[in-house]
């Protein structure tokens, strides 16, 4: 047991907090008035969101022609942004499901917000396939619904159809998983808050959580099952997204390496996004004790690892192109690096391969400022990765007569910015109205009141006010089958 060696392992939650303190501190963010900083951030986000939606409205009214696309480059900002946001979402599921199954206990501090981020990111991502359609008002035709148009069905061979199913499944599971994890905390909110309406709302939303042993047991069984269900989704969603390209015939798209490459890239970018958000959140919401440099360190290691996978994929792509003997393929990659859009490629390499190497240093990994900057750069790099794959492959394909360029219009830029506005608006509202840290789960890893290096079921501990969440934290550990001394 890792916790058996206290010298090697500092506690994940600093400050030797009591469970009651945890409840107070986390609920405080919801119960006090929002700060001026929050208001500024919120208003800016809403403003950007409105600009973005205005741009979308203009585009819907006028036509896809308001984007910089052309006959040769049929996808650019739209699908780049789509893949980017889907990628961002991945870390949430990874943290909540895979790390849960792998007993990475540090996840408890970040899983709630990472999952929220997933949901908001998938919502942002979902905008793009919808508005990139020439006739979005016919989007329901993507559904395989019974109709009176003869045997008119959808095309099950089309990766876009797979995409549609993959993303809608992913979104559904993510929402359910997130909400399920939220239920004990909603009960805590119900019991803790002094505000009448908040108590009533939380009472409804927590489905009358009674903290009984049986409730906890069922809850944790369902949680475990959902984690198991969500785990393949982490892999499948981005795999299927990558098939949009991998099954196409365009040189630079048509490659079997895409599924693992895309999944690794998604985790890479998603983790970085979590880092970005958590660093801001811990600072502004006084959560330094809950999200410690140790958490950052752990996440940076994942970023470093996935950066390595992504780098390997970049190299493999070039090798495959060279080894294939296919001149079109070779040219596509040579053009990617040295052609007119080569600058995008080198931004991608710098941000995704070179800069994350700094994470080899523990000092960098635990420096909040460094991690913040690098995490931003990684996301810039990952956005460019998708841009490079999509646009640089399309703009110079088989017949040189068709070669064109691409530049986004202000409408596309505003739309992309608008999704950030939407994302942050959602996230800021989330910070205000939902416990940003899974209170019940964090209590499970408190060192408070425990003999050092030993594990006790929290239920045996003196519980002070005997708050139900204490029972929950202990039950969680039992249900997850943790080995106890």
């Amino acid at each position: 047991m890792a916790e058996a060696h206290p010298v090697l392992h500092q506690p994940w939650i600093a400050g030797d907090k009591s469970p009651a303190q945890v409840t107070d501190e986390i609920c405080a963010n919801m119960e006090r008035h929002p700060s001026a900083a929050w208001w500024i951030a919120f208003l800016v986000s809403v403003a950007v969101m409105i600009i973005g939606f205005a741009a979308i409205g203009y585009q819907l009214k006028t036509g896809i022609g308001t984007w910089g696309l052309n006959t040769t480059v049929g996808w650019a900002f739209d699908i780049t942004n789509f893949v980017f946001w889907i990628g961002i979402g991945h870390a949430g599921t990874l943290i909540s499901a895979i790390l849960f199954l792998f007993r990475q206990r540090w996840r408890t501090s970040v899983n709630r917000s990472a999952e929220a981020m997933t949901i908001f990111a998938v919502m942002c991502a979902g905008i793009f396939p919808l508005i990139h359609m020439g006739r979005p008002w016919l989007a329901m035709w993507m559904f395989p619904y019974p109709n009176f148009r003869g045997p008119l069905w959808i095309n099950f061979r089309s990766p876009l159809v797979w995409d549609f199913f993959a993303i809608s499944t992913y979104f559904t599971i993510s929402v359910v998983f997130w909400y399920l994890g939220l239920m004990p905390d909603l009960a805590t909110v119900r019991d803790h808050t002094r505000s009448v309406w908040r108590r009533k709302l939380a009472a409804i939303l927590c489905f009358g959580w009674d903290s009984s042993y049986r409730t906890w047991q069922r809850y944790e069984t369902v949680y475990l099952l959902l984690a198991g269900l969500a785990t393949p989704l982490v892999v499948s969603v981005h795999t299927i997204v990558s098939w949009d390209f991998a099954t196409a015939v365009i040189p630079g798209w048509h490659t079997t390496i895409f599924p693992p490459y895309f999944v690794a890239g998604a985790i890479f970018s998603g983790m970085s996004m979590v880092l970005t958000l958590m660093i801001v959140a811990r600072k502004t919401m006084n959560l330094q004790d809950y999200i410690t440099p140790r958490h950052l360190d752990a996440m940076c290691k994942i970023v470093l690892g996935t950066s390595g996978i992504v780098a390997l994929a970049y190299i493999t792509e070039f090798f495959t192109a060279f080894y294939s003997g296919n001149p079109y393929e070779q040219f596509a990659f040579w053009n990617r690096a040295l052609g007119p859009m080569g600058w995008g490629y080198w931004i991608m390499v710098a941000c995704n391969v070179l800069i994350p190497q700094l994470y080899w240093s523990r000092r960098v990994r635990t420096s909040v400022v460094a991690v913040f900057i690098i995490s931003l750069l990684v996301n810039v790099g990952m956005w460019f990765e998708r841009f490079v794959i999509i646009v640089s492959s399309l703009h110079r394909d088989y017949l040189p007569a068709n070669w064109t360029g691409y530049a986004p219009t202000i409408i596309e830029i505003a739309t992309f910015a608008g999704t950030f506005g939407f994302f942050f608006t959602c996230f800021l509202l989330f910070c205000r109205f939902v416990p940003v840290i899974a209170i019940s789960e964090v209590k499970g890893i408190l060192s408070h009141g425990q003999p050092r290096g030993l594990h006790h079921a929290a239920a045996n501990e003196p519980s002070g006010e005997g708050k139900p969440e204490l029972v929950g934290a202990g039950a969680l550990r039992r249900a997850t089958g943790e080995v106890r001394p």
């Binding site: 006028t62 308001t66 049929g74 006739r135 993507m142 959808i154 089309s158 876009l160 110079r396 017949l399």
Partner: protein, 1017 residues
């Protein structure tokens, strides 16, 4: 019971106690007083008003609705079945070549023009201009009324006013001048002559804005008769052209292309492949087809011709006392070889020259004379009427106008204020002419200054005839009632001569008198007339023109003039020509066959010249005469870098910057980033006509001593193709294949004697993974494009646009690479400066057997038909554009906006058989599926199989070179399946096994094998 036992039941104690007031109250139904509103809007009032409203609405509904004529034929016109297309034979008047054409009518309106395959001169082709001239009919900018002093008037009033003035002119012996372009209509010509005869002083002045008067003048000198020979390219085995773009714009390109193609058919038995050498200063499409293309400056043409004539004279044994000739600018050996080739093909060779210098044309005649080509490849006994202009007479007229000696000027078919060099001066002179009348279809620079405008009908609205070459008389018949109150020239003149007659009667009269006696096959005139109207032409035994034997006296050797840093070459562009069609959006948006630029004219510079001036494409340069720098006669144009152009030449297209193009300011989708199609002056391009020089009795299209300066401005060119070669850019070369086998070439010796040629990129059926995936057992439509025959003339592009309702998108969209043309012609260069080869590759949807687009569409909007077609279902399409991304040929087109016609009258030209696509929908070439269906229905009605050749796609039908063959590849006897088996056939990207249904036949260059290798690709 109840009576016997009246037991009192009570409801409440008050009742039991029977209080008086309670009982009182209980009797009343309502315990509180009921207030009935009397002064407000009560229930009854409400019901009354509602009743009134219903009654009023019912009454209103009973009134007569505005009449909408949804059913056009309550009285069915004879022979017209709604939905069925009819074809009328007619003659094109897009230029003075007068090609035979068929007018496709649906529901009494013309919707498409096609070449007349039976026409003996043009053999079924129709060029881009001819195809697009349909839009001229449905053009709301046309004059629909005659005009007097800029105001609409009636024909009666106009006739009265003009005849009154003419009476006075007759009495005062005023000079009457009739200024026209070449009139190919003998009846109109006769009518003009008759009209002018009524005046004591009158002259018919003919000029062509794209003049060939030097050829006529030269023949006057050498053969004693001012005529234009009828060139017979099909009879020539060696063709040498000096700056004559005979496949593109020179005199009669459709006819010449068909003839040229007939002489270059490597598949024929025995193979025929003429040798074509082109001397030119700029890159024309004719040069792009040449087996040997030599760049020379315009001032060197006379010199090279002199050298060639001298060599041929030596072979012919003709003594010449030409001494001290300047050395040839090209290697002596090459000139010797060319002379030897020509000499070997005596009587089967043809030398043509596009230079507007009489002395040069005389040399050209001399060469043809030495080679014995007169009577063989040049017919001067039955000459051509396609160019009749005399620039000498034009010069004289300009002098007269300047001197104010003209009393009345009539113009028809020309726009002198725009297309003459001294247009402004001409305009000023016009103001001094008391009577100016312009016969024109639409407002132009000249009609704006004319006191009277005689609104002329469109070709499809009136009767006319044409005699392009002696012996072939064509007819034009109306296919629709005139859209406006218009009157053809010959009718107007008849009215002014006091004997009003319809054009139909005038034509019949003249045909009965002049044409009918020249033939013997029909006994009655009516039968002859009926057949001629049906066929669109009549071949008659015309009188041969008398020519003298060759006059040596006129022949003089020429020395090259001194070279200048830059000389300007003005050229007509395919489509726009001299600018008469500048109103036509199809032609404005048609990519130039060589430069692929739309919507603008530009200054072409060779790569070396551009480097010398340190300019790149899109940089604006100022062109002005070095002698008159700063005098204001300058033109600012963006640069286009043209490989293969002479380094001392700057070439500019004519026909741009006219008033006709002002209508295009807002063409295309309007949104907040959209830029105007027109330039700062509100017009498309700049008019280069002021640089044309009327000198020595000829309009000259090249000017020496031009100063080219970089202004620092930029105007990007809306070019549909940015990559010029099939090789990857130099900086991205890798060891291995850098030249893509998309365009394949071979040489004649290799084709005839060598192996069939390595079939690069041929698909390999052995690697088929799904052999019986979707077998097509019935028809399997396929197409073969002969790249050797294709000249790039782009007639197919406009034909496709007309047939398939392809929208016009405007310059800004073209700049954004969003052309909507279903058919495009890719143009690739290969080779270095002096030996540039050009390949034209027409590209349409390849209708792949394994179509990458089909698998990716999420909603099954693109599917495979049983007949091998890749179908696009517009109303199912949601517009993900995935199919277009996955199309390796990028032949799919997306509706980025709602593309409406800027002129709604143009909707009349829409083909009702083809759906008009809305915004957000993908579209593409369908192999003209509506034509396939029509032919299948027709065959089924007759109970027959669809015959090979019964289906002609729009592009195939119009192709003057017959480069496109369409048919059923499951029929082993069809032409298309024969050609698909040809050794020249290959599939583009065949190695990927997309199984395209379009085969391409390799280009064959008639040159030595080693040369071929050097140039291949």
């Amino acid at each position: 019971m109840s009576e016997s036992n009246p037991k009192p039941y009570w409801k409440c104690p008050e009742e039991r106690d029977a209080q008086e007031n309670f009982l009182e109250a209980a009797r009343d139904e309502f315990s509180e007083p009921v207030v009935v509103p009397t002064n407000g809007f009560g229930r009854r009032n409400f019901l009354k008003s509602a009743g009134f409203a219903v009654a009023a609405a019912t009454l209103a509904g009973c009134s007569r609705a505005p009449v909408e004529k949804a059913i056009p034929f309550l009285v069915q016109p004879e022979e017209i079945i709604p939905g069925k297309a009819y074809f009328y034979a007619s003659t094109c008047d897009g230029c003075s070549a007068a090609c035979g054409m068929l007018v496709k009518n649906r529901d009494s309106r013309p919707i498409k023009l096609e070449g007349n395959p039976e026409h003996p001169v043009t053999r079924g082709g129709l060029c881009a201009v001819g195809q697009a001239s349909l839009l001229g009919l449905y053009d709301s900018s046309r004059y629909l009324q005659p005009q007097a002093q800029g105001k609409p008037t009636t024909w009666d009033e106009l006739d009265r006013a003009i005849t009154a003035q003419l009476l006075a002119i007759r009495a005062n012996k005023g000079a009457v001048r009739f200024l026209t372009g070449s009139i190919v209509s003998p009846t109109t010509r006769a009518q003009v002559r008759a009209f002018l005869k009524t005046f004591p002083v009158a002259r018919h002045v003919v000029y062509d804005p794209l003049s060939s008067s030097a050829i006529l003048d030269a023949h006057e000198g050498t053969h004693g008769s001012r005529l234009l020979p009828h060139y017979r390219f099909e009879r020539a085995e060696v063709i040498v052209s000096f700056d004559a773009d005979f496949l593109g714009t020179w005199i009669s390109p459709v006819e010449f292309t068909a003839a040229y193609r007939a002489g270059r058919n490597p598949d024929a038995q025995p193979p025929r492949m003429s040798y074509h050498a082109q001397f030119e200063s700029r890159m024309s499409i004719t040069g792009s087809k040449a087996d040997r293309r030599i760049r020379i400056a315009p001032n060197e043409i006379g010199l090279v011709m002199t050298q060639l004539a001298q060599r041929l004279a030596a072979k012919a044994g003709t003594k010449l006392n030409w001494n001290g000739l300047t050395a040839s600018p090209m290697p002596e050996k090459e000139l010797d070889d060319l002379a030897a080739r020509l000499w070997a093909a005596r009587g089967k060779s043809l030398v043509v020259c596009g230079e507007q210098e009489v002395a040069v044309q005389v040399l050209c005649n001399f060469i043809n004379h030495l080679l014995g080509n007169y009577g063989a490849t040049l017919d001067i006994e039955k000459p051509s009427f396609q160019r009749q202009g005399s620039d000498r007479e034009l010069a004289a007229l300009v002098e007269e106008l300047r001197a104010g000696k003209v009393a009345a000027l009539f113009t028809s078919g020309v726009n002198p204020v725009f297309d003459l060099p001294a247009g402004e001066e001409f305009a000023a002179a016009l103001k001094r002419v008391p009577l100016v009348a312009s016969f024109t279809e639409r407002p132009d620079e000249t009609s704006a200054l004319a006191g009277y405008v005689c609104a002329a009908p469109h070709r499809l609205e009136s009767w006319d005839d044409a005699e392009a070459v002696v012996g072939v008389v064509s007819l034009a018949q109306p296919a629709i009632r005139p859209l406006g109150n218009v009157r053809p020239l010959m009718e107007t003149l008849a009215a002014w001569m006091g004997a009003p007659k319809s054009a139909y009667d005038l034509l019949r009269e003249r045909w009965q008198k002049d044409v009918f006696p020249q033939q013997k096959s029909e006994k009655s005139f009516q039968a002859f007339w009926d057949r001629s109207v049906h066929d669109g032409f009549a071949v008659v035994e015309a009188e041969k023109s008398r020519v003298q034997s060759f006059q040596m006296a006129a022949v003089q050797p020429l020395a090259g003039t001194k070279p200048s840093a830059f000389s300007l070459v003005l050229y007509p562009k395919v489509g726009l020509l001299d600018g008469r069609h500048a109103y036509n959006p199809w032609l404005q948006e048609l990519p130039d066959p060589v430069t692929k630029v739309t919507w603008d004219n530009y200054a072409c510079l060779s790569p070396a010249a551009a480097k010398r001036l340190s300019v790149i494409e899109g940089d604006v340069v100022r062109l002005e005469l070095a002698s008159a720098a700063g005098s204001g006669n300058s033109i600012e144009l963006p640069v286009y870098v043209q490989p293969g152009q002479h380094d001392s030449v700057v070439a500019v297209a004519l026909g741009y910057g006219s008033k006709l193009s002002e209508r295009f300011k807002h063409i295309g989708p309007s949104w907040f980033l959209a830029k105007l199609t027109t330039g700062d002056d509100g017009r498309v391009g700049k008019n280069a006509a002021p640089f044309v020089e009327l000198r020595d009795g000829a309009l000259h299209y090249s000017r020496a001593d031009i100063r080219v300066t970089h202004t620092g401005g930029r105007r990007p060119l809306a070019c549909t193709q940015s990559q010029n070669t099939i090789a990857v850019p130099k900086n991205l070369e890798l060891p291995g294949v850098n030249r893509r086998p998309i365009v394949q070439e071979t040489t004649l010796p290799v084709l005839l004697h060598g192996e069939a040629g390595g079939h690069e990129g041929q698909s390999n059926a052995a690697h088929e993974m799904w052999p019986a995936d979707h077998p097509s057992t019935g028809h399997h439509w396929a197409m073969v494009v002969d790249m050797n025959a294709c000249t790039g003339c782009s007639a197919c592009v406009v034909a496709c646009q007309a047939e398939n309702n392809v929208p016009v998108v405007g310059r800004d969209e073209m700049l954004r690479h969003r052309s909507m043309h279903w058919m495009r012609i890719d143009r690739y260069y290969s080779g270095e400066d002096d030996a540039i080869d050009v390949a034209h590759q027409p590209f349409m949807c390849q209708q792949c057997g394994h179509a990458p687009c089909e698998t990716v569409c999420p909603v099954l909007a693109t599917v495979h038909s049983e007949e091998g077609l890749n179908q696009q279902i517009y109303n199912r399409c949601v517009g993900t554009r995935y199919c277009a991304n996955n199309c390796p040929y990028k032949t799919r087109r997306f509706n980025w906006f709602d593309y409406l016609h800027d002129d709604t009258l143009q909707n009349m030209a829409l083909n009702p058989d083809v759906a008009v696509r809305t915004r957000g929908v993908m579209e593409k070439c369908t192999f003209c599926v509506q034509r396939i269906q029509a032919a299948k229905i027709e065959a089924k009605q007759r109970g027959e199989k669809v015959a090979d050749g019964a289906i002609q796609t729009a592009c195939q039908q119009t192709c003057p070179a017959q480069a496109i063959v369409f048919g059923d590849r499951n029929d082993p006897k069809s032409r298309v399946s024969q050609l698909l088996k040809s050794g020249r056939n290959y599939a583009v990207l065949g190695e990927f096994n997309f199984q395209p249904s379009v085969g391409y036949l390799k280009i064959v260059r008639n040159r030595a094998e080693s040369e071929g290798e050097k140039h291949n690709g």
